[in-house]
Symmetry: C3
Subunit: 116 residues, 3 copies
């Protein structure tokens, strides 16, 4: 269907989908999983920014972010990076939980919905 | 952009966003975290109702609720409050999981998407 | 409201909702909780397929899937079923976490958003 645009699709999933002005991103994590929460969060946000750009959107148009942390002790470090990422006055809704992810080295995963 | 309406925005997040007839709410928790599941759920739903009203929506127009519980032993108590909150015949979709939240006193967090 | 179509509603929740071309499904799990991850995943996807059909959609139009596993050791078994379910070239976005669900026998719960 031409009303569903897929971005960076591999054999298992699309990394992003645009439909009817909404952008859905697959859970984004750092590629380099050796770092601390700040490095991983910065890298995950960079991937989100890149995906949003490919979708014709940007971080000022994010509607919701679900934040998964592997360890709630990383909460303050994550927020430090978050606070530098958001544009004041144009921030998204968010919710944050500690869960376990597939690779235990993943400290943060971001699930983003945005307006195109 | 004028096509994204933000409600109750602070330095970190918007508590609600309306875009193209959809309402996204940040994870809502009780303010008073000293209470049991019933008190916390009632307070969280009251905040959801208030946010929905500000967004020009109401609980009969909720599309999905993700329910995070801090302890699955609270499941029955939560459902007692849920069953009193929903309008029969106009109930949303839902999914419920036990996760850990930032403040361990939080017994329930509600993540709501609604139609305006 | 006639702009919100509810599918398979019981006293507590709608199993599916269609609004403005978007389909929201309640968390879907196997009915038979005695099986392993492959059996439970197959049954959960069958329920998703059935709900999507009722909503006038299908698996090639899924926008996002949140996958909750009860045990991350089931990740490979789940993906085996996932890889057989998706249509190559028309895959959704996804994110996967281990959480705890109400019934500890539930090995997988799928939360699906789709385009109608």
């Amino acid at each position: 269907m031409t009303d569903i645009q897929r971005i960076d699709q591999n054999q298992r999933r699309s990394r992003g989908i645009v439909h009817n002005g909404l952008v859905f991103l697959a859970g984004q994590t750092a590629n380099d999983l050796s770092g601390d929460i700040r490095q991983q969060a910065r890298e995950a946000f960079a991937k989100v920014d890149d995906m949003l750009a490919q979708a014709g959107s940007d971080k000022t148009r994010v509607l919701s972010v679900t934040i998964w942390l592997g360890d709630m002790a990383d909460y303050d470090g994550f927020n430090e990076v978050w606070d530098g990422w958001i544009v004041k006055g144009e921030s998204p809704t968010r919710a944050c939980a500690k869960v376990a992810m597939h690779d235990p080295r993943v400290r943060v995963e971001l699930i983003v919905t945005a307006a195109q």
